[in-house]
């Protein structure tokens, strides 16, 4: 769960490009939310505040019970281990194999190697890439890379899952599988926010939505 109160954010400091203005949100645990709005509306900016990649310029941010603005660096690092993010640009490391990319979060948590191998094989089987483990990300298609990015975000069972256009490179069947997994994870208690400007998929999988336009919130819930 997370709460934002009157949050504003500008790229490049307060004098920079205003990306978000006066956003207030309250999403309880285990809830799914669409994050909607046209290109440039501020969806990725909002997700980067929630994934602790940037600090809000003003306002109050509380994620999984941690007041982010006052937290120490080490608490923020621990908090990041409970947040999974599928970035719009995937952010796979090109010089690591697919296996090592997906294993990365678990390695950073110093899990045992045999446990890591087990988890990676299970999740890669689920995304249908169990025989591409030794490939490099750049040897994969866009949709395959996206599935690797999704696997890396869910492998450590985050309490908060953020996905930025996670279906834009997927075919319909895979998008359907992904949505099914999201709903299953939400049932298990994961809070999920999925940004998209793909209206078709929102219509096919109706759920509460947050809608942004020009950095302002135009709708919360439906």
């Amino acid at each position: 769960m997370f709460r934002l109160h009157d949050v504003s954010y500008a790229h490049g400091g307060n004098a920079g490009v205003a990306a978000l203005s006066h956003i207030s949100l309250d999403v309880p645990q285990g809830e799914f939310r669409w994050l909607l709005g046209p290109s440039g509306a501020g969806k990725s900016s909002l997700l980067s505040i929630l994934s602790l990649e940037v600090q809000a310029s003003a306002g109050m941010v509380e994620i999984l019970g941690v007041p982010v603005m006052q937290a120490r660096r080490s608490s923020l690092a621990r908090l990041r281990r409970r947040i999974g993010t599928v970035w719009q640009d995937f952010r796979l490391l090109p010089d690591l194999s697919v296996f090592d990319n997906v294993a990365l979060p678990l390695r950073l948590q110093h899990r045992a190697e045999d446990e890591i191998a087990h988890e990676v094989h299970a999740i890669m089987k689920w995304v249908g890439l169990e025989n591409r483990l030794d490939a490099r990300p750049l040897q994969l298609s866009g949709g395959e890379q996206q599935r690797v990015a999704i696997a890396r975000a869910v492998i450590y069972r985050p309490a908060l899952l953020l996905a930025d256009e996670p279906t834009n490179a997927l075919d319909e069947r895979q998008a359907g599988r992904l949505m099914a997994m999201f709903h299953r994870l939400a049932e298990l208690g994961t809070t999920i926010v999925v940004a998209t400007h793909n209206d078709a998929i929102v219509e096919k999988y109706p759920a509460p939505a947050i809608e942004l336009a020009h950095g302002h919130m135009v709708r919360d819930y439906r």
């Binding site: 080490s74 923020l76 281990r81 090592d100 294993a103 990365l104 979060p105 390695r107 950073l108 190697e113």
Partner: protein, 308 residues
């Protein structure tokens, strides 16, 4: 499989290649070793010159065989006083032969072998003391015209020289250290820059600052340790050769100074190199490693502050 633990995307073998840094650290350790060796040598010599066995006072007694005020000859009376004075270790009267060899150039010039020579007594005093001034009136009383000559002008100058050599050595070491720290910082920053995407990623996956800085610091620390080892090893033959050349001046006893060295005996090698020098060479690699480790820790942590 254990290697896989470090498949964390930092790829430090590329970010901090293993040739450039050790080479530079080796060169700087080498310079530091030379500077430190100079400092140690200067310290040793100043010890010797200011209050070691090298502090010599000469006492000239004119007409040594003339009768003294009391009984016996003047020279005997003077030697008697010196023998019993506190603070004097030895008082050795130079033999005629020693005296003549000392004065040979002048005697040959005048061609007069029967020139009346004064007696010369070489007095070694205890460290840091000058027992001569209080004795002077008594010596004057029994042997008028007695001359006490101190080499303190020399030893003072030499001590001042040694002190400034030591200061130079210290300054050189500090400069070398500063340059080494700058080089390590530059190399670390370059490494951070080349891996900034991977660092940003593992940061957002929850890697602690201490994890990232620790990974960089152990790599740099290891490279600096290797470099320091190289520098120490490179300096060793040079310092051995210089110690060997300096051995006669640093020797405690005459026997040590003149005895030929047995090159095959490792103990003899250890003897000619002052122990302080050996310790310095041993301490240099870990010191280089520590310097690299600490510098990198601080550099990386400061750099990571740009990430929220």
């Amino acid at each position: 499989m254990a290697r896989r633990r470090y498949h964390d995307g930092l790829a430090l073998h590329q970010a901090l290649p293993g040739q450039f840094l050790p080479f530079l650290v080796a060169a700087m350790s080498f310079l530091a070793a030379l500077a430190l060796a100079g400092g140690i040598a200067a310290h040793g010599l100043s010890q010797r010159w200011t209050h070691g066995a090298g502090a010599v006072t000469t006492v000239q007694v004119p007409g040594p065989d003339d009768p003294a005020a009391g009984t016996g000859t003047r020279i005997a009376a003077v030697q008697d006083i010196l023998a019993h004075a506190p603070g004097i270790i030895t008082a050795h009267r130079l033999s005629d032969a020693e005296l003549r060899s000392l004065l040979a150039p002048w005697i040959e010039q005048t061609g007069d072998a029967s020139l009346p020579l004064p007696a010369v007594i070489e007095v070694h005093t205890t460290a840091g003391q000058d027992p001569m001034p209080p004795l002077l009136p008594r010596l004057e009383a029994i042997a008028p015209g007695v001359m006490v000559e101190h080499d303190s002008v020399w030893s003072d100058r030499l001590a001042a020289l040694a002190a400034s050599l030591q200061a130079c050595a210290l300054l050189s070491v500090m400069i070398v250290m500063t340059v080494a720290v700058c080089v390590v910082m530059a190399a670390t920053r370059a490494g951070l820059q080349t891996r900034r995407q991977a660092i940003a990623l593992i940061h957002s996956l929850g890697a602690m600052d201490s994890y990232i800085s620790g990974r960089f610091a152990s790599r740099v620390g290891l490279l600096a340790l290797v470099g320091g080892l190289g520098g120490s090893l490179a300096a060793l033959p040079m310092l051995l050769a210089m110690s060997h050349l300096a051995a006669p001046f640093a020797a405690v006893t005459d026997a040590q100074a003149t005895a030929p060295m047995d090159w095959r005996d490792p103990a003899a090698w250890a003897d000619i190199v002052p122990h302080a020098l050996l310790w310095m060479l041993l301490a240099l690699p870990p010191a280089a490693g520590m310097t690299g480790w600490v510098t990198t820790q601080l550099t990386v942590r400061a750099w990571l502050r740009r990430l929220p």
